[in-house]
Symmetry: C2
Subunit: 229 residues, 2 copies
Amino acid sequence: MSTRIVEVRAGVLKKNDELARELRSRFEQAGTFVVNLVSSPGTGKTALLERTLTDLRARGARVAALVGDLETDNDAKRLARSGAQARQINTHGRCHLEAEMIGEHLAGFALPELDYLFIENVGNLVCPASYDLGEAWRVALLSVTEGEDKPLKYPSMFNSADVAIITKIDLAEPCDFDRVAAHDAIRSVRPAMPIFEVSVKRNVGIDAWLDALAARRTLWQGSRPLATT
Amino acid sequence: MSTRIVEVRAGVLKKNDELARELRSRFEQAGTFVVNLVSSPGTGKTALLERTLTDLRARGARVAALVGDLETDNDAKRLARSGAQARQINTHGRCHLEAEMIGEHLAGFALPELDYLFIENVGNLVCPASYDLGEAWRVALLSVTEGEDKPLKYPSMFNSADVAIITKIDLAEPCDFDRVAAHDAIRSVRPAMPIFEVSVKRNVGIDAWLDALAARRTLWQGSRPLATT
């Protein structure tokens, strides 16, 4: 890349960081715990999210979702089946969500009435790593069909995330998926990363994941001194 | 550094990573949630830890501590006042704890009978960042007397940590400590980092910190599929 392009990119990232900071402050003041889901295309973000929205609603939580794709509103329609408010963000060719897009799509959401807001990022293990969306928790997903070494190939994404979820765990055996190797790969990038294994289809690990969300939200609620004083 | 020295250092780190992985697996199987406390000298790690041990014991938790210093066993004696088992690790000149030292000092601890094991690292904002100790949670402390920009100067430490604690918050005003600038500095290194503010002396923020520990341990307990299957 030329110096000029590098400078432009640095400028975009800086602007994004500032907008993300404003968003984070807004979410903290509203008490909305925001989760940013990142993964390759086809890892099963939407499937897990649909299930998460449905089950959190059954537990009495107030939830909503923003979902990013280059085109189509298929995913927002799918997520809306949970009964939660779900809104599509079309990036029209851009390979990641940016803080500005989040801000533009918050109109109509009553944040103080939301316990959780989930952001499903564009399927991409590279660019979303660099774009803070003001989230409180970044969750990186990896499916057993993708192979165990993805965290080593995409270390920025896994290092910037706070938790990892291995999806489609019911297919581990037919895919010859080596769980130990996958855990080692994740933890060689971020040693103390909590790892969950789920299968939405077979209802494996979902309750542990929902409990973790609730526990992490509790932690976050206790950690907001700037917003609460 | 010469190539030779770089190679030796890489070898040491690799060996440390392997030992840390074994320790982590051992802690996970025992159900012991391990917390690694890192900061500059004088930030108040021992004061917060003594208080944490005392209060967790009062809440019914089973706790112990390992504390690293170049020389003296002053800190272990101080921590033992809490009633918890506390053991000193003297590094004899080394500027950080290593996984091997942790392993050597676990003899006599009945890990399955411990809910929490705290490791107080050597006061140093550089080297401990590179040494995984098998912990489940890395906590970076910063006191208001140190200035707001430490996270920018020591990004590896704050990036590798999972949570930040600002200590001696009762001195914020006399120190002209800018809380917003400190939060921004921490979050420019790791955007979604949870931040707690505490004063052990004035009993500020301690309950929120203890609640966060419990919530994070719950999350960790749900995230151990390799150990529990």
